[in-house]
Every structure is written in C-alpha cells, then in structure tokens.
C-alpha cells in the first residue's frame, strides 16, 4: 500500500477515534476547550496591553508562568523514570507503558514552550531564538542551551513515539536497532533537560537563593517524584475505561520509585534549610520569606508549609507498601505528591528567589486572574494534546486500531499491508500482558 494512503487511513481513523467517546470523555474535552478559549482571550488582552496585566514588576520579574515552565520541564523529564526499569532492568511489565510516558513528555514540553511564549515580552520575536533566522547566544547563555535541549528532547520523544505507534498501526515492526538506542538516549537527555533548566537558576550569582549547587540534584529528585504521578492516575483511568490492561505491579513499582525520589527531594530540601538557617547570613532572608515571612510580608508562608506537608504525606503513602497498594491511598499519594512539588517548584522556587530583590526591596507577588486564565489555558492545551494522543495510542496498543481493521477493530478483508501484522513481539506487547482481572 502506498505510504500516503496508509497515512490517510491513519488520519481518518484517528479523527474517528477522537470523535468517539462517552459523556465523560466529551465533558472533559469541552472543559479543556473552554479553558483554552478563556486562555486565548486573556492572552489577547495581555498582547494588547502588555505584561502589565500580570502582577510581575521589575522587582519580581519572573512569576507564575516561569514557575509552571520549570515544573513542567520536570514532568517531561519524568518519563524517563519508566524507561529506566523498563529497559535497563528489563522489567517487562513496564515496557508497555513507556510509550505513555513519552506521550506525557511530549505534552509537557509543548506546555513548557507555550509558557515561555506567553511569558516573554515580545512573543512576536520568538523566532529570534531560532537559528538560522535568529541568533542563539550559545554556549554562553544557559537559556540558549535550554532552547536546544528542550527542542531536541521533544523531537526525540515525538519521533520515537510516533514511529512506534505508526509502525504498529501499519502492522509493521518498528526499527528496533534505531529506536531502542534512542530510547536509551532519552535517559541522559531527560536528566539533561532538567539539569540545564536547573542551571538557568543555578548560574545567577545575583540570586543567592538559586545560586546553590544543590539545585540541579534537587530539581531531578522533585521531577522524578512529580511527573509519574500523572501517569499513575492516567494509567488507572485507562485501565478503567478502555480494554487496556496493566499489571498492578507496574503501578506499584512506579509508586515505589517515586517514594525514593521524594525521599531524596525532602533530604535535599532539608540540607538547603540547614545551610541557610545555621549559617545565618543575610542570604537567609529568602528562605525566611518562604517559610516564615519577613515582617508583615507573609503571602507565601501557607503555601510553603502546604508543600512540605503534601510532600511528606506523599512520601509516607508511597513508602509504605500496604499504603501504596490501597487504591485510594495510592491516588491520594499521587495527588499529594503532585500538588506538593507543584507548589514547591513553581512558586516556591521563583518568588523567594526574587524576594527581596537585588536592592533589598520586598514586593509581594501573587498571580493575577489573567495569569491564572492564561496558565489554565496552557495546561488545557497540554492535557488536550495528551488526551487526544492517548485516544489514538491506546487502541493502537490494544491492536484495535490497525490498518487492516476498521474503527471498531474488526478486520477488514482484502486490504494489503506491507509486512506481517499481529506479531506480538514486534507490536506494542499488550498481548503479552496477562490480564489481572
């Protein structure tokens, strides 16, 4: 079959898949579209009036958008948490879900790029960052490094996952000799993107709160405990609403790995806190602003302690095996971990780093409604992309969406396909999974 015809069938089949769904699915999609519409309107206002519609000012020149960007880079990097046990330890139950981790990474990177676009003062000049039309100040600027590695990571993951899925769709084996080294490459790349993002802050001598060597390891630890939380929830949803099967052991293993990462995260935070409070220099001001406020400036204190509490809760729930095997506690732990790291790495990193500012002034930043609307819109874009990709990927993985089948998975007669189909070891090995029901 000519490749354009295959692609055409893929497109039409995908379209049919995303338009097929129950009430819950449509409610979710409509909600996301509404958030996107709201975000677009708010963004238009921001483009017209300038960033003055946010609460950012000279004193706190980065805020909610960059906080979300930082958090989402961590989520993108967390896809690798699944890759390591799958391929390095060859733990088969996880191999099937590597693809979903990569879809999550792709969606997260899209959100990261969107957050950068809405944050810069001149989104119309975004192309200044893209050589050859623009000019990238490489290697001096860490932001230039970040542009490169994030886009490379995106291309890598997008390429791998679309290749695997498309080949599975057309009933052909994926190019193992190319794909598997690339999957292995994504491990150092995931570490790389979050290390470079940490270096963005780490390298600024002007901001003592960020200028700490602990930042890169702490970013990685918090990334590896927060990103998979989404996957935990999504995998359970898939198991519930589709014919997708995943062993409980796989899910529990992810939770266990997350607990180790959270322990490291808490330990590193503790180490930072010790250094600040014990040395008791004027650099303590930033940590004090976060944990106990400065004078009457106490906006962030409730968030600080919520983050600590949620993190500890998540750690405890995932560290105790009986707790993580309980479905309610498992999801509570996932939510707590995600929320805790979101607070601590989003606002808890950016705002205390800039308050007090370089000349000692305290301006208390908290996002405005416009910022919240735009951020919600960006999140909705990411979630929508993830949802739509899953809507196509899961049927492919289950063998339902194939070139030689129609949208309902029934085999179509008389259609040629190049190469064999149905070979379990070559397609996504969902058929190798024993049902756990």
């Amino acid at each position: 079959m000519r490749p354009f015809r295959v692609f055409y069938r893929f497109l039409t089949g995908s379209l049919r898949l995303v338009l097929m769904g129950n009430a819950g699915y449509w409610a979710w999609v409509v909600l996301l579209l509404a958030l996107i519409a709201s975000g677009l309107l708010a963004f238009r206002m921001q483009m017209e009036r300038g960033l003055v519609v946010t609460a950012m000012r000279d004193q706190v020149s980065w805020g909610f958008y960059i906080g979300n960007f930082t958090f989402l880079v961590g989520v993108a990097a967390a896809a690798v948490v699944l890759v390591i046990p799958a391929y390095i330890y060859n733990w088969k139950p996880i191999r099937q879900i590597v693809v979903y981790g990569e879809l999550l990474a792709v969606s997260a990177i899209v959100m990261c790029l969107l957050f950068v676009v809405v944050d810069i003062g001149r989104p119309d000049r975004f192309w200044h960052l893209i050589p050859p039309w623009g000019r990238l100040n490489f290697p001096d600027s860490i932001l230039a490094w970040d542009v490169l590695v994030l886009n490379l990571y995106f291309v890598l993951n997008f390429g791998i996952v679309t290749h695997i899925l498309y080949r599975a769709f057309s009933g052909r084996p994926y190019a193992r000799r190319v794909v598997e080294p690339l999957i292995l490459l994504s491990i150092p790349m995931a570490v790389g993107i979050h290390t470079v993002t940490a270096f963005l802050y780490n390298g600024l001598a002007a901001r003592p709160y960020w200028n700490a060597s602990i930042l890169a390891p702490q970013f990685l630890a918090s990334a590896f405990c927060s990103g998979p939380a989404i996957l935990l929830v999504v995998l359970q949803l898939l198991r519930r609403f589709t014919r997708f099967e995943i062993k409980d052991e796989a899910i529990w293993k992810i939770a266990e790995l997350m607990s180790y990462a959270m322990f490291l995260n808490l330990f590193l935070h503790g180490a930072e806190a010790f250094k600040e409070y014990y040395s008791n220099t004027e650099h303590l001001l930033y940590a004090r602003y976060w944990y106990s406020g400065l004078g009457e400036h106490r906006t962030l204190v409730p968030y600080a302690w919520s983050a600590v509490g949620l993190n500890i809760l998540g750690f405890v729930l995932f560290a105790i095996p009986t707790a993580r095997r309980n479905p309610i506690l498992l999801n509570l732990g996932a939510l707590a971990t995600y929320a805790g790291v979101y607070i601590e790495k989003g606002m808890g990193l950016i705002i205390p780093g800039l308050t007090p500012d370089a000349l000692g002034e305290i301006y208390e930043y908290a996002p405005t409604l416009t910022e919240l609307r735009i951020a919600a819109g960006v999140f909705a874009v990411g979630f929508l992309i993830f949802t739509l990709m899953l809507k196509v990927a899961v049927p492919i993985a289950l063998g339902e969406f194939r070139l030689d089948r129609d949208a309902r998975g029934r085999v179509l007669e008389g259609l040629e396909s190049a190469g064999g189909s149905g070979d379990p070891s070559l397609s996504l090995p969902s058929s190798a999974v024993r049902s756990n029901r």
Binding site: V52, A55, R57, Y363, A366, T368
Partner: protein, 173 residues
C-alpha cells in the same frame, strides 16, 4: 649638507613629539600657579565694588560685631578664631588677602579658601571637587568655591528631596 640634515631631523622631531601644551584637551591646570577660568564671583546685589563706600571710610580694625551695615551676615565659619578682616583686606576693600599679606582679587578666592582647605583645593583643581559640567575630555568648567559655599556660612542647607519612586503595584490597585 650634514648640518642641514641634522637641522631637518631636529625640526621633524620637534614637530612630531607631542607636548602637553599642544594637546587641545590638556587644559587642566596642573601646576599650582595656573589659574583656572571661572565665572564671576556671586556677589550679592549692589555690594561690589566695596570701595564705592569704603574708599571714604575710616578703617576700624577692632574685632567687633557689626551693627551699622553688613549686619545681615552671620559668620559661622571658624568665628571663634576669625572675623571679617582676617580674609577681607582692610585697606583695599575690593580685594581679599592671604595669610602672607598678599592681596588677591575675588576671582581667585579659591587661593584663600585653599590656605585652610588644602586638600579641597587640590581636588578642586583636579576637577573632582565640586559640580562638573561641560566635557569629560575637554575644557573643564570650574566654579568658584563661593558659587556653592557661602563663605560666611559654608554649611549646605538641606534640600527638599524630589519625590520617591512609585512603589510597584498589582494591576487594579
């Protein structure tokens, strides 16, 4: 022929080697004897030339507080040790005098101030004391000490500050 060649070489050297006085930018008075260009002294209206009144008056060298005239001048400048005639010349009222007795015009009052405030005078000549206007690489424009400091009450009066910056506000506040 050899003599002419030598002469030619010397002439060329004379022209080629730059000297301090040739440099149009080199107009800072570097030696104490050089006199910087200053605008005219900031006299109160009608008080100069002093000889208009004092030419006909008797000289009274007794230390006292003035009551007839110049009583608006309150001396707050080492007033325990000095009074008017320690700076103003008693016989030639249009001049000031230095400790040595040398009479100087009001245009050179910096020399008088410099007797006690030597390091200020040194810094002023170098251009680092006092307000700077003009060209950073060109002719310095000097002001007299008296243009900023009232010689009788040299202490600066406090100024009203210009408004503070507006504090950053959230939109809508």
């Amino acid at each position: 022929m050899r003599f002419l060649t030598m002469l030619l070489i010397l002439a060329l050297l004379y022209v080629a080697i730059p000297r301090a006085s040739d440099d149009p930018h080199r107009q800072t008075p570097s030696s104490p004897e050089e006199q910087p260009e200053v605008p005219s002294p900031p006299f109160s209206e009608g008080v100069f030339p002093c000889s208009d009144c004092h030419a006909d008056m008797e000289v009274n060298r007794t230390r006292r507080e003035l009551t007839d005239f110049h009583d608006d001048i309150v001396l707050e400048h080492d007033e325990q040790q000095r009074w008017c005639l320690d700076c103003h010349d008693a016989t030639e009222r249009d001049s000031l005098h230095l400790a040595s007795g040398e009479r100087i015009s009001f245009d050179q009052s910096y020399r008088l101030c410099g007797q006690c405030h030597g390091e200020k005078l040194r810094d002023w000549r170098a251009g680092i004391h006092g307000r700077r206007t003009g060209e950073w690489n060109g002719r310095k424009q000097y002001l007299l000490c008296a243009h900023c400091h009232n010689p009788h009450q040299p202490r600066f009066a406090p100024l009203v500050p210009m408004p503070p910056p507006t504090a950053p506000r959230r939109p809508g506040q």
